[in-house]
């Protein structure tokens, strides 16, 4: 990737972070947060996006961000009250900004349908002088306007009616941070009639020039209505990376015609005189003279921008400058503390560590086969290696672990949109956003979560009238939470709606032939009918919940992640969908068992206990179906060998070992195997990617002896066997 493209990519990554900041800040304000730092953070987020967009000439983005930023600035300065309506518009503006960022990322230049209207809304809101000249422009026209600029040598009009002289000298840092003097000049020339004068006196000969340093300075004579604030705003993002002097025409800094207007030594002298002593005690005058290429260190302390300009500036401009620097500080520290790494590299590392784990297991097996004593130096060294390998594996996994926030933060927008479409007021409550899970899991969570939240609003929540009739507040609540529970991540989506209408669900299932009319089903079983393929409770297919794509798709995608989804519903109180997912898709703690001379692995998370069946506890139901009595209750006894087709005759229960497992919805079953070999962590190798999907088998792994062992898909085995049992019964 060429460097600029890489910087651009980073910009868009950072945009996503800024957008998240923006949204969470606005939501916090909507929730009553009145901390000035929140509004500052929101402002900075939009400001940074605008600044970065400026560096890449993303015009649509710059324009919208500018209008948005102006409105936020009004709010920050207390002129615009953060009322509920204002914040709602701001949230929608945040959505549009996100769209514009994504469109810019994709190189999509089509105009955003809602942007112009919303920009107008924001302008009306801010209604400040600074916004007025913006509103005169045609918003949809992002072309650079050809402007009247005089070439070098042209003198500034002697008696300009109104205007400013802007002296601007970029530092090397300005360019190094992917800002561009040309773009700033372009922005400046938009503010009015501009005459640009270049001072290239400092440019050294070619053999002495450092192409990455900054030698040029400009003096722009700007006439028109622009005020000093809007001029300074152009340079807000490069504050500290350039020297900037804005003086009213006819002011003291006006230079004689023909001479370069940028008299640095006198400027510096003046600044040093005006500025507090500590501001620039060490700023050497010589540092401005580019005799030699400037050193990589900052040339001078950023005193110019902070110094009070001759004309008393509005307080806001100074605040902005100060904040810009304050914001820059912590961000720099963060940049030092984190690095961005290509995901492919991490994945490769994880693959390699997986191989290392397998290799270590092979080695351990070989040592055991060689008959070396447990206390031998080799065996002890191997133990240490195992510990180390495990630690490396955990650490590598931690690299890929991410808080679920990245997917949770997409949901408020979805909720707003669905709420608007359905006309149901909804509040989204999120919890446990910091819960970490493997990035691959996170990526694949977005779709099922989106679907479930849509469902919760569309089908779960009642309309305001029904809610009022039921004595509930008009605003429905959808709660999204995440937590770690026994080595898995549990994500819940709950609503305070009407709960599942079991009569209706059952009626539909019978109507669609999914169950027989005579079937007696427990509440739990009825609730679970909504996960059956082809089931849809919406009386008419709605735009929101998709077309015929039901909860079965959600369940399949969760299962594909090695997860389970369950539902619990209370009539009149609402429903809760609970997803339990593995923290990683790369390793699994497994119980290694033998079935008919085959080695299989059962995920330990599903196993409740293991037991040796006694003859008197096992009861036949006819055919091959059996149940086993455990502490007074009966659970189906499933012969794994039969279920996977390893044998045709069932294993006598007393000759095997039973694994009591808990499947979806808490249903229990006992899996009968020949013997248990032990527990171990196995590296998951996808069977689908390397072979194809096999019912009853979730994945495969490679054991210490180099053989492939299949990892059982316990839920499928239980479901299939249950069907068999029904047939048998």
């Amino acid at each position: 990737m060429d460097p600029l493209a890489a910087i651009r990519e980073t910009f868009f990554q950072e945009c996503e972070e800024q957008l998240a900041e923006l949204e969470s800040g606005l939501l916090a304000m909507e929730g009553g947060d009145q901390d000035p730092e929140t509004i500052n953070a929101v402002f900075r987020a939009v400001h940074s996006i605008k600044g970065g967009a400026g560096a890449f000439s993303l015009e649509a983005l710059i324009r919208f961000a500018h209008v948005f930023e102006t409105a936020l600035d009004e709010m920050r300065s207390g002129r615009l009250a953060p009322s509920n309506d204002v914040l709602k518009s701001m949230l929608r503006a945040a959505d549009v900004l996100a769209d514009l960022v994504r469109a810019a990322h994709a190189g999509d230049e089509a105009e955003h349908p809602g942007a112009a209207t919303l920009a107008e809304e924001l302008r009306t809101m801010s209604g400040a002088a600074g916004a007025e000249d913006e509103s005169e422009e045609d918003w949809g026209d992002f072309e650079f306007q050809p402007m009247a600029v005089a070439v070098e040598g042209a003198e500034a009009p002697a008696a300009a009616p109104a205007g400013f002289k802007v002296a601007f000298k970029p530092r090397a840092d300005l360019y190094a941070k992917a800002n561009e003097a040309a773009l700033l000049l372009r922005e400046l020339t938009r503010l009015g009639h501009a005459e640009v004068e270049l001072d290239a006196h400092d440019v050294p000969p070619l053999n002495e020039i450092d192409p990455e340093a900054a030698y040029l300075s400009w003096t722009v004579t700007l006439t028109g209505d622009a005020d000093e604030t809007s001029i300074r705003e152009v340079f807000e993002f490069v504050d500290g990376d350039c020297e900037l002097e804005v003086t009213p025409l006819g002011g003291s800094a006006e230079s004689e015609g023909g001479e370069p207007a940028f008299d640095l030594s006198s400027l510096l002298a003046r600044v040093q005189g005006d500025a507090p002593a500590e501001a620039a005690p060490e700023a050497p005058v010589e540092a401005f003279e580019p005799v030699a290429p400037p050193p990589p260190a900052p040339v001078v302390a950023p005193v110019v921008a902070a110094a009070p300009p001759p004309a008393a500036p509005p307080a806001a401009a100074n605040e902005t400058a100060a904040e810009g620097q304050a914001a820059g500080g912590p961000r720099k520290t963060e940049a030092g503390a984190t690095i961005r790494v290509d995901l492919d590299r991490v994945d490769r590392l994880i693959d390699l560590v997986g191989e290392l784990v397998i290799n270590q297991a092979v080695l351990a097996q070989r040592v055991m086969e060689a008959g070396l004593a447990r206390a031998s130096a080799v065996a002890m060294g191997l133990d240490e290696l195992e510990q180390l390998t495990r630690e490396i594996q955990d650490s590598v996994m931690a690299i890929r672990a991410q808080p679920v926030k990245s997917v949770f933060q997409r949901m408020p927008r979805l909720v707003r949109e669905v709420a608007a479409m359905t006309g149901k007021p909804v509040r989204l409550v999120t919890e446990g956003e910091g819960t970490e899970v493997d990035k691959t899991v996170i990526e694949r969570l977005a779709d099922p979560l989106t679907h479930m939240i849509r469902n919760a609003i569309d089908h779960g929540l009642e309309n305001p009238e029904k809610r009022a009739a039921a004595g509930k507040p008009a605003e429905g609540v959808v709660k999204l939470s995440a937590a770690h529970r026994s080595g898995r991540i549990v994500i819940e989506v709950s609503d305070d709606g009407g709960g599942i209408n079991r009569e209706r669900v059952k009626g539909i299932a019978i109507e669609k032939g999914l169950i027989s009319a005579e079937a007696t089903l427990s509440d739990e079983e009825i609730d679970n009918l909504i996960f059956m393929p082809g089931f849809s409770t919406a009386a008419e297919v709605s735009d929101i919940s998709g077309r015929g794509v039901g909860m079965d798709v959600v369940r399949r995608s969760i299962q594909a992640l090695g997860g389970r989804i369950t539902i619990s519903s209370r009539p009149g109180k609402g429903s809760t969908f609970t997803m339990s997912l593995p923290l990683t898709l790369a390793v699994l703690d497994g119980m290694v068992v033998s079935v008919n001379n085959q080695t299989l692995v059962a995920p330990i998370t599903a196993i409740v206990e293991t037991l040796q069946p006694k003859a008197e506890d096992v009861h036949s139901l006819g055919g091959h179906a059996r149940v086993i009595s455990i502490r007074g209750g009966f659970v189906p006894l499933i012969d794994v060998g039969m279920a996977l087709g390893y044998r045709n005759e069932p294993l006598p229960a007393t000759q095997g070992v039973a694994l009591l497992i808990e499947g979806e919805g808490g249903a229990r079953a006992a899996l009968l195997c020949d013997a248990i070999q032990g527990q171990r962590q196995v590296v998951i190798k996808s069977l689908e990617a390397n072979y194809r999907q096999v019912p009853g088998v979730a994945a495969a792994t490679i054991l210490g002896d180099g053989r492939v062992a299949l990892i059982l898909d316990i839920d499928t085995i239980v479901t299939v066997s249950r069907g068999d049992m029904r047939k048998a019964g």
């Binding site: 060429d2 460097p3 600029l4 000439s57 050809p146 600029v149 070439v151 070098e152 970029p170 360019y175 190094a176 992917a178 561009e180 003097a181 040309a182 000049l185 372009r186 020339t189 640009v196 004068e197 270049l198 290239a200 440019v203 050294p204 000969p205 070619l206 053999n207 020039i209 192409p211 990455e212 900054a214 030698y215 040029l216 400009w218």
Partner: protein, 97 residues
């Protein structure tokens, strides 16, 4: 005699300044013709390299000209107050000794 013209990259942004500097250094001492027909944007750092080259060539007494500037290149120079680089340079380039 003018050698092969130096063709400027389409994007003369900050990443182009280093390569441009090197390309110009390699041509030091020869009459130079720079083809700006493909330039879509030009930034401050490339401009200063070009300005430096212009004065260096002038000091060397060698021919320096920018030919066929694209509208974007010309526009960029005007914007940065350096229109003379493309227009005047061609006309006023010193006669080779």
């Amino acid at each position: 005699m003018t050698a092969q013209p130096l063709i400027l990259a389409d994007s003369l942004d900050m990443t182009a300044a280093g390569p441009l500097h090197k390309a110009l250094l390699d041509r030091r001492g020869q009459p130079l013709s720079i083809d700006a027909s493909q330039v879509r944007r030009v930034g401050g750092q490339c401009l200063q390299v070009l300005l430096s080259a212009q004065s260096t060539w002038a000091a060397d007494g060698a021919e320096f000209q920018i030919v066929d500037p694209s509208p974007e290149f010309a526009d960029g120079l005007v914007l940065m107050g350096a229109a003379h680089l493309a227009s005047a340079a061609a006309a006023l380039s010193p006669v080779q000794d």
